[in-house]
């Protein structure tokens, strides 16, 4: 029996059922419901809600909590996500599992605080200085908000990295039916099994995930935001840096098939392929309903991109259309991946969601390419 729930509430519910025990955040529209629910529910589960002085501190606090053994969460929106980039890089570098919710509103800067946007796609991937690969998930329904939050915690521990969940404001504030599972699969941290004297917090073959102890266990360990070797102590020779950067990249990109979820709706060999994510993917599905030549490929995972699968689904297409609530971000990735046919963008950055009719019209207007 589905219950009526809001997207942000489903994220909070998913996190609580996934076993989150620590939340640190700073209120910001349109994500504040997550904080409010956490503040209300965590103490009853023995968890800690901390309202931090800013998003720099929020991100730092969830890193500290995770290293102390907690499943930790924060939620924010564009302006706060910008501030979090600094320590998001720290979480990538120190390989600290944690989950960050970025409810996307319309930018730039303070922008339109209550209106949706999808302009943080490239920031999630490239917003930090240096190469800092990351996992980013994008739900398109309230059910998806719940399910992908649970999955975010699993991926964070499995790959020992921060995971960003990026609903747009429409999905986050949408209320619709949610089927709550009896129980959810909880994330498991891969803890060391060697003796404490032998433990090295970053020792693993290239691309493999090193086990992570927690502060207060018999395993005493160092982590650092600076370049480091397997011991966790800083080291600055080129070979150490090469190995570390390659490891951070490979641990996600070599396993893209385990991470990236791609959903395809439509005929086996679509002539027109609409590639979309978030609420725009639902508009796209409505737009192609009844069209036997058009399909929708929904990017439930934004990063890393499952490039092989995208190229495969797009193989039959005469046209790829990428509608998104920005002035062109994911469309550039599609142009890089799909070379055999035109890739058109359909962009809107006025704080309004893209309507199904706009997508249908774009397909019609593409004329010869589409038909």
């Amino acid at each position: 029996m589905p219950i009526l729930m809001q997207g942000n509430a489903a994220i909070a519910e998913g996190a609580l059922r996934a076993g989150v025990s620590f939340y640190a955040g700073y209120p910001i529209t349109p994500s504040s419901e997550v904080a409010e629910i956490m503040a209300r529910r965590l103490p009853g589960q023995g968890g800690i809600y901390l309202q931090m002085e800013d998003e720099l501190a929020s991100m730092a606090a969830i890193i500290g909590a995770s290293l102390a053994g907690a499943r930790s969460l924060t939620a924010t929106s564009g302006p706060g996500f910008s501030l979090m980039q600094e320590n998001l890089g720290m979480a990538v570098m120190a390989e600290v599992p944690c989950v960050i919710v970025n409810v996307q509103r319309s930018g730039p800067s303070t922008g339109l605080a209550t209106r949706p946007g999808q302009g943080d796609i490239m920031q999630a991937r490239w917003g930090r200085h240096g190469d800092a690969p990351i996992i980013a998930l994008c739900p398109s329904s309230v059910q998806d908000c719940f399910d992908q939050t649970v999955r975010a915690f699993i991926l964070a521990e499995k790959f020992r990295c921060p995971v960003v969940l990026m609903p747009d404001q429409v999905v986050a504030h949408l209320s619709e039916g949610l089927e709550l599972p009896g129980e959810v699969t909880r994330s498991e941290r891969s803890r060391p099994t060697c003796s404490p004297a032998e433990y090295q917090p970053f020792a693993a073959p290239p691309g493999e995930i090193p086990p992570l102890a927690e502060y207060g266990s018999p395993y005493v360990f160092h982590v650092t935001s600076s370049m480091h070797d397997e011991t966790g102590f800083s080291r600055s020779d080129p070979e150490t840096a090469r190995k570390k950067n390659l490891h951070l990249h490979r641990k996600l990109h070599d396993r893209v098939e385990d991470i990236a979820e791609v959903r395809y709706y439509g005929p086996d060999r679509p002539g027109v392929l609409v590639v979309a994510y978030g609420i725009t993917a639902r508009a796209a599905r409505a737009a192609v309903q009844g069209d036997e030549d058009a399909g929708v490929l929904e990017l439930a995972t934004l990063w890393p991109l499952h490039e092989r699968r995208l190229a495969e689904v797009a193989g039959s297409a005469r046209l790829v259309l990428v509608p998104e609530m920005n002035l062109g971000q994911m469309v550039h990735e599609m142009r890089r991946i799909v070379r055999h046919c035109p890739v058109h963008g359909l962009h809107r950055a006025d704080g309004e969601p893209i309507e199904p009719e706009e997508i249908a019209r774009a397909i019609r207007d593409s004329g010869g390419e589409a038909r």
Binding site: G46, A57, A65, S66, A68, A70, Y215, H222
Partner: protein, 255 residues
Amino acid sequence: MRDFRDYLALDRLPHMWCAGCGHGIVLGALARAFSDLDLDPSQIVVVTGIGCWGKADDYLRTNALHGTHGRALAFATGVKGARPSLQVVALMGDGDGVTIGGNHLIHAARRNLSITGLMVNNYNYGMTGGQYSATTPYGGLTTTSREGCPEEAFDTCALVAAAGAALVARTSAYQPAQLRALLRQALTTPGFSFVEVASTCPTYFGRFNQAPGPAEQLKDVAASVGSPGIVAKRQVDDFHARYWRIHGKGDEHER
């Protein structure tokens, strides 16, 4: 009883600090305070930021979290928040502690998690080449204030005391025995405790502004402290005690 050497990564010495720098004295006092209290190294988390003093965790055999510049107390808040049984110590310089990290400092003092902040103040940014910080005195010569610093310095202890910290103390690297005793007290005080240690930077600030030679400079910084010791002290319930009292679970979560 553990010896102070049990907390030091002796195999990683000699340290990277300049000859005459006060940081080694402060690190020695911290290790001695740990051993005075016979703390279990696996239950200590030393959180550091970026800067010369931020390298201190490299020489410690405790847990360590060496994070981004200025955020040591924010990381520490997460560690202590999630696991209150840990002994959490944040090591900060004047850049880390009260310049870029000033906001975290006042909120850590107000929030009163039982964390000890140990700020070593050498009146400038040593690691980046001796630029002025929020503790450089008016008129102080640095590489970005060749004719004198136009800004006033923070009285950091007064700031932290006003923000509500449980214990605020000040001394210098010239008084290591007193520093050790103050750290012992800070490490056992419920709520946020803060110790500021005036120290030397013989390579930059000291060379530009103080007596010739590090030994004389130590005397200069000791003199600049005025009367060392406890600056402020108040009885507080720490964050976790207040949190669980508010949420009606005071008894279950007694430490």
